[in-house]
Structure formats: structure tokens, C-alpha cells
Symmetry: C2
Subunit: 139 residues, 2 copies
């Protein structure tokens, strides 16, 4: 049994490697290999909220509003987000992700997609069913 565990380990290492390669490709496609984990987390936070304002983001991330302004200015320089004024209330600005911002926020997700696509290409329908059946059992 130990032997099988080892084998399974190698197989999964391989899959994770493929996934990481995909993430890296996506990040370098955006020309942002040096982005910090925190920055990516912030972009994700912006993505998850809809219609997020500066005050709201300050609340969520537990930072002061000037910190958020600074952060957003940086993201604007990086072309990841833009400001959109609320049509009903001129004081409010929404923070929106650009295509590039979305790409980064979804990078992990998309890397996963690419690996799955590779699977779909490598496996037949029967194997897919088997795989789904087996992996569903793991909790």
C-alpha cells in the first residue's frame, strides 16, 4: 500500500506542477511576475465584491481610506483597476477591475481550467466518468 501512496504522490505532483506552470504563464502574460501575494489577494477581494467603493474596501481589508487610495493608484498605474463614478451619488467611486486585473484575480482558477482541459483531451469519456467517481469520494 505504501508503494501505491508513493505512486499517487508522484502523479499528483505532476498535476500540480502542470497547474503551477499554467499560473506562471498567466502571470507572465500579464507582465507581472513580481506581484505580491497580498496584491493578488486585494485584487481578488475587489473581484469578489460587486460595486465596491473605497470606504467599503477599507472596511474589508481593515486599512485606512488613504491606504486604499494609495493602493488603488498603484493598481491604476499597473492597469489592473479603474475608477468609475457612481451616477446617483457623485461622492462615490466604484473600483472596477480591468481585463488585466480580472485575468490576475482569476489566474489560479484559469490555471486549473487549463489543466482540466488537458485532462479532457487526454482521457476518453469513460475514463472521465471513472475519475470523477473516484475523486468525489475523497473528503
Amino acid at each position: 500500500m505504501m508503494d501505491k501512496e508513493e505512486h499517487l504522490f508522484e502523479v499528483f505532483e505532476n498535476l500540480i506542477r502542470i497547474k503551477n506552470e499554467c499560473s506562471c504563464t498567466i502571470f507572465s502574460e500579464c507582465g507581472l511576475s513580481d506581484m505580491t501575494v497580498k496584491q493578488i489577494a486585494y485584487l481578488k477581494a475587489i473581484d469578489e465584491q460587486r460595486e465596491v467603493t473605497f470606504s467599503r474596501l477599507a472596511e474589508i481589508t481593515r486599512n485606512s481610506k488613504p491606504t486604499i487610495t494609495e493602493m488603488i493608484n498603484k493598481f491604476v498605474r499597473m492597469e489592473c483597476v479603474y475608477r468609475e463614478r457612481c451616477p446617483d451619488d457623485g461622492r462615490i467611486l466604484y473600483i472596477r477591475l480591468t481585463d488585466k486585473g480580472k485575468k490576475i484575480a482569476h489566474a489560479e482558477h484559469n490555471a486549473m481550467r487549463r489543466v482540466i482541459e488537458q485532462m479532457v483531451n487526454s482521457l476518453d469519456e469513460h475514463e472521465m466518468d471513472l475519475l470523477i467517481g473516484i475523486l468525489q469520494k475523497v473528503r
Copy 2:
């Protein structure tokens, strides 16, 4: 087919989630949730080399020697590494990982192991064979 892809995606998301939970557990077991990606990469570099010295690490990481001294002092404060003088040449110091340092360097690896262990517990031998057979086909 689209439907199966979606299904497979969910199944894998679940596995990755389990793995990430494991990594987080391992990091917080070390009381170091705020470690940077770079620091972990450096610990891994120390782990991969054997008998690594300050000069060698400066070479590998393309930093100056004072930078390495500073970095190692920090890791010593974090109780991740210690210095060991070379018995044959008093000028040379080896950088060694403590148990905590090793734990961090191997965190990803160990998280993977835990997930595999969960698989081994959830699946019978036949299912394991099937799984290995199927996943090996993905390249």
C-alpha cells in the same frame, strides 16, 4: 462533454482546497502565517543544497554576502536556521535548517502528503489503481 469538464473542475477545486487548508495548518502550526513567499523560497534553497555556506547562498540567490548575513540573522531570530562552524576550516559556517525550518521548507510537500493519505483512507485498492492509471495519462 462541457458538463463533465465542469464536474471535474469542481472535484479538483475541492482537492486543491483540501491541500491549501493543509498548507495553512502547517504554517500556523509553525506560528508563521505572515512569512513571505520569498522567505519560503530561500528556506527551500537552503534545504535543497547540502552543506550550504554564506558565500554559496549569496551566489545561488544572487545577493551580496551582507544581505545573506542579514537574512540568516532574521531566520535565526525566527528559529528557522542555525549556524554550524566547519570542523576543518574555522572560517566557514554552514547554514542548517532547524526542525521548524524544515517543516516550512517542506510544507507544500507535506500538505500534498496529507491529501494523498486522505485519498488512501477514502479509496480501496482497486480504485487507487484506476486513479493512478488514469492520471498518468495526463501530460
